[in-house]
């Protein structure tokens, strides 16, 4: 057997990725490989290109140059295959306020072509502690509950890759703690997670790899075990400042 067949396909493989919006260069040649089953946290200041990177991986934004593969599938050429494999949680919940929790999940279940959407939804709602409110409209939910429901929506089709784009934004401390617990539960060693955040504390807790994105470039990447947690803040600022040429 040739050696190549044994090679494990990386969950995410990004090569020299550029994204230019008009005159704004959001990503300037990003390289990134995420191994299957790992949890990567990408830190970066606002405007670093974190959301753009996530949008490219989620097929919402088309790369200007370079390539991005998710589970071996190209985000532009095989967008459909990538979409099936990716779940996204962002500060936008993607939920319809006039529909109930169950209706929202049923709708997205239909969109993903799931066979047993109802069972799966009920199971997820129970898991996330929303079972009692499943027939209430999302508009009546607190921000924290909406975000948990958004987690259920993202997990509905059992994605191989979970993209978390600033999932803590807009949540109070209590809701953040609950969400952190939920996300901790997602680490089963099979699902790959990529999270972006500018919050150093929350980001470091759950991941096993750390990266820093600044001004559209990956300026730091290290295994979480190798990173000195107490000194990470200093590392972060040094990286960001260097990227800004100061």
């Amino acid at each position: 057997m040739p050696a190549e067949t044994h090679r494990v396909v990386a969950a995410v493989e990004v090569k020299n990725l550029w994204k230019v919006y008009g005159h704004v260069e959001a990503l300037k040649g990003v390289d990134l490989t995420v191994a299957e089953g790992s949890f990567l946290t990408i830190f970066g200041p606002n405007g670093a290109g974190k959301t753009t990177l996530m949008k490219v991986l989620a097929t919402l934004a088309r790369p200007t140059d370079g390539s991005a593969l998710v589970g071996g599938h190209d985000v532009t050429k095989e967008a459909g295959a990538v979409r099936k494999r990716v779940g996204v949680i962002s500060h936008n919940t993607y939920l319809y306020p006039q529909l109930t929790a169950m209706e929202n999940l049923a709708f997205y279940g239909r969109m993903y072509g799931l066979k047993r959407a109802r069972e799966r939804s009920t199971q997820l709602l129970e898991q996330l502690g929303l079972a009692t409110r499943m027939h209430d409209r999302v508009a009546t939910f607190s921000r924290g509950m909406q975000q948990r429901l958004s987690v259920a929506r993202a997990l509905l089709h059992e994605p191989e890759l979970l993209l978390l784009d600033e999932p803590y934004t807009g949540l109070d401390q209590h809701a953040s703690r609950i969400l952190a617990g939920v996300l901790e539960g997602l680490r089963d060693g099979q699902r790959t997670v990529v999270m972006t955040t500018h919050n150093l504390q929350e980001g470091l807790e759950s991941c096993d790899r750390v990266a820093i994105l600044a001004r559209g470039r990956m300026v730091f990447e290290e295994a979480a075990a190798e990173v000195d947690h107490s000194g990470f803040q200093a590392t972060y600022f040094a990286c960001v400042e260097r990227a800004w040429g100061r």
């Binding site: 008009g22 005159h23 704004v24 200041p45 606002n46 405007g47 670093a48 600022f237 800004w244």
Partner: protein, 237 residues
Amino acid sequence: MDKGPARRDLMVTVLGAVTFFFMLVALLGALVWAPKEATMGDVQRIFYFHMPSAWIALGPGFTVVFALSIAYLATGRLKYDRVAAASAEIGVVFTTITLVTGPLWAKPAWGVYWTWEPRLTTTLVLWFIYVGYLLLRSVAGDGHRRARLAAVYGIVGWVDVPIVFFSIWWWRTIHPRVLTSSGFALDSRMTAVLMVSLAAFTLLYVFLLVLRVRIESMSATVQTLRFRARDRRGGGV
């Protein structure tokens, strides 16, 4: 703009001068040299500038928008979008000229400023479509997003034009027409003046297009520089 700006400036100036010269010749031809039209008299002379301006707007002006909109969507090159934007704006200017001079000719010739005749009405609708196109560009941000939205509108708008004309024409043939546009025969001198004027307006279109495209690329440069300056100045931590 990058290579040999001085030479390019010179060429634009020369083009401007030639255009101006042709415009003056056309003007003289229209007002002095062309014979007085038998039935309509001097007012017919409006025709020599009215017609070419309509032709250039409807012909090259808006067709370029359509063609380059397709070209942009096919290739994703912003250069096409810029030229399309420039052409649309000049087309609107020429259509405005057509719409203003039309009534000034119609009033003494037919007794009314405006009639809902197919060609006139279509021109008015056309004017609205391309003003809409420019408005869309002004609110749609910048870069590729604006280019894509504008391109879609540019395509839909252009396809709509013959349908508009046909519907109005058909509508008018059913309902009694208040006025019929009386045609007139052109003699050779009249034709000559019309041709010179058409050439002048073609040159004017090209000249304005060059100027307008240059502005479009300059404002792109400004945006890039601004972004870079902000990028340097601000620390987004």
